[in-house]
């Protein structure tokens, strides 16, 4: 299904570069590159999750920041209760262990995705876009109004969640932990995409009526994909909050949903690693443009417009076309 998987050598090469990246960055005198790569990995996970519904399933969700932000807030809220040594709603103790916050994130974002998905998937097309956007915005206003958890200003997480035996205050350690998580994530995603479930999903995008005629419950398949996708975005949010040691309503803002979509489209819709490439491209682009001018979004806007109007299939397709092959 995905061509890059047929190229194990390329994949192994990329993995080796990623593993060696912190050393290369230090050797080249750009230690900040490791942080940049960490951000790219996190956004790569979020964008690839979005791509599962958007690219494979054809459901244009404009509200994935909701799950991304929820992931961040799970970490932040549990950490606040841990430091204050009290109970969330008088029931749940706080924690600073990644092995607890990570499953908690998956649970919360999965439940939220089930709820939002169940409602939004009753419609389709343009309504679906607007509704997912509206639900994310609703969550945004909720977090802004929660004064206990920082309101507008967000939550500062003084120390990143701990993993037994590792020093999570070291940027390089964090990078390797995240790289391992990303590797597991993309392996699972690869399995999902190439499973029967993945094929049904693609079938639903191409012709929902035909799939229904084959006796497949379209709604349930779409909802399942939406939940998995929401959990992936939540995972990314959890990692981002730990990396930045900060969770704020900005993570839920609708522009974040837009950014995730931009990453997917930059890299290539409906490809396994396209979103990761797109996330890397976006992060680098943002860093480079922002170092030139504070009006960097102007440049981003024009680049995005060009990509949407003139490249069919993002960076991957562009490379493929330059290489003389059809995407």
């Amino acid at each position: 299904m995905d061509k890059s998987i047929n190229k194990p050598f390329l994949l192994a090469g990329v993995l080796i570069v990623l593993v060696a990246l912190p050393f290369l960055a230090n050797a080249a005198g750009y230690p900040a590159l490791t942080s940049l790569a960490t951000r790219a990995l996190i956004y790569g996970i979020a964008a690839a999750s979005l791509n599962l519904v958007l690219g494979y399933g054809g459901m244009v969700s404009f509200g994935h920041a909701a799950f991304f932000g929820l992931g961040g807030y799970v970490v932040g809220i549990l950490y606040q209760h841990y430091t204050q040594d009290d109970m969330l709603l008088g029931l749940i103790p706080g924690t600073n262990q990644l092995l607890v916050t990570l499953p908690a994130t998956l649970l919360v974002s999965g439940l939220a995705a089930a709820l939002i998905g169940a409602l939004s998937l009753r419609t389709g097309g343009v309504q679906f876009i607007m509704i997912t956007l509206a639900f994310a915005q609703m969550l945004f206003f909720l977090f802004v109004s929660l004064k206990t958890y920082g309101g507008d200003d967000g939550l500062i997480i003084r120390r990143a969640n701990e993993l037994p035996g590792l020093n999570m205050r070291d940027k390089q350690t964090i990078y390797y932990v995240y790289l391992a998580i990303a590797a597991i994530f993309f392996f699972l995603l690869w399995r999902i995409v190439n499973s029967r479930f993945g094929n049904v999903l693609v079938g639903l995008r191409q012709n929902e009526r035909r799939m229904a005629a084959l006796g497949l419950p379209a709604y349930r398949y779409k909802l399942a994909a939406f939940v998995i996708s929401g959990m992936g975005a939540g995972l990314a949010g959890c990692l981002m909050a730990n990396f930045l040691r900060f969770a704020s309503p900005d993570m839920v803002h609708w522009t974040k949903s837009g950014e995730l979509m931009v990453m997917v489209v930059l890299g290539g819709v409906g490809t396994l690693f396209g979103p990761l490439i797109g996330a890397a491209a976006y992060t680098i682009l943002e860093a480079v443009l922002a170092s030139w001018t504070e009006y960097w979004q102007l440049g981003l806007g024009f680049i995005l417009l060009f990509v949407v109007l003139y490249t069919h299939g993002g960076i991957q397709a562009l490379f493929a076309r330059i290489g003389g092959r059809r995407p």
């Binding site: 343009v126 509704i131 995005l304 109007l309």
Partner: protein, 304 residues
């Protein structure tokens, strides 16, 4: 009682503003099948053009035509340069291209006018308040907004139900392909509809000037609320947009006005205010969720 009526009028005023935006958005989607995120940017451009001309000339009423012209010109340029290429694309491309337009417009406006919000002084002709009922005084300017909004709604109704262009618009929103097959100049129709939508958005923008701060980002804020209106009313239906706008305007205003004080009966003041503000911001989205549960295509969906 007079406070309640005042809030009701505030709700109506917010509602007609929403309608001016929602009518354009729903028409553009209904006729051309394009989801236009940059509709809010045209609202912003109308507001800035109106504010700038009003500040330069000292007359708000010179700002109004300036805003309309600016909005229509930018709208036409947008249709010609970008949106025209999107008619045959899928919704994803439309969302992203118009998202890119938002980024571009926001940055250009920031470059031209800076980050400080502009304030527009109230035109002296419409300054002050009138006593509608004993004990109920209401600002003339807001009444004027309601009046203009209702007149526009009436005008749109007549345009769509009584004229030849309106007939094509109705036909186009029912079956686009058939209209094209019957030999109607669809490109012309598209440009007219897009221009009309831009004009209405610009009108809303310039009218918002004296009561809101004119700033970058004002477009997106109201755009998302407008989406909720369009979804509740049913995509493509002007009547639905009208009903849903007024409904949402009133519900939103009422929640903001009364919820915090109601919550104050059960919790401490500052918490009640914060939570009340939060829940009232969420109110319209909850309303949308309820409507979707009952009628997934909205209240007045044209094809149902």
């Amino acid at each position: 009682m007079s406070l309640f009526l005042e809030q009701l009028l505030n709700g109506l005023q917010f509602g007609v503003m929403l309608f001016l935006l929602a009518a354009g958005l729903t028409l553009i989607f209904g006729i051309m099948g394009v989801i236009n995120l940059a509709h809010g940017s045209i609202y912003m451009i109308g507001a800035y053009a109106g504010a700038y001309v009003a500040a330069q000339t000292g007359s708000f009423f010179l700002g109004v035509p300036a805003a309309l012209v600016a909005a229509a010109l930018v709208g036409a340029a947008m249709e010609f340069l970008v949106v025209r290429r999107l008619y045959k694309r899928d919704h994803l491309d439309q969302v992203l291209a118009t998202f890119a337009l938002i980024l571009i417009f926001n940055q250009v406006v920031t470059l031209l006018f800076g980050r400080q919000p502009l304030f527009v002084s109230m035109p002296s002709l419409l300054d002050g308040a009138v006593e509608l009922l004993p004990g109920l005084t209401y600002p003339i300017y807001r009444l004027a907004i309601i009046l203009v909004g209702l007149l526009v709604a009436l005008g749109l109704y007549l345009l769509i139900n009584r004229t030849r262009i309106g007939m094509l618009v109705r036909a186009g929103s029912t079956n686009r392909e058939m209209v094209r097959a019957l030999g109607v100049n669809v490109g012309m129709l598209y440009t007219i509809v897009f221009g009309l939508g831009a004009l209405l958005a610009g009108l809303a923008g310039v009218m918002a000037g004296p009561i809101l701060a004119v700033q970058v980002g004002m477009g997106e804020q109201i755009l998302i609320t407008t989406f909720v209106v369009v979804v509740i009313g049913g995509v493509g239906s002007i009547r639905g947009a009208f009903v849903a706008s007024l409904l949402l305007g009133v519900v939103d205003t009422m929640l903001r006005a009364y919820l915090p004080s109601m919550l104050r009966h059960v919790m401490i003041g500052s918490d009640a205010d914060a939570l009340g503000a939060g829940i009232s911001s969420m109110g319209i989205y909850l309303l949308m969720a309820v409507v979707l549960l009952i009628r997934p295509k909205g209240l007045f969906a044209p094809n149902s």
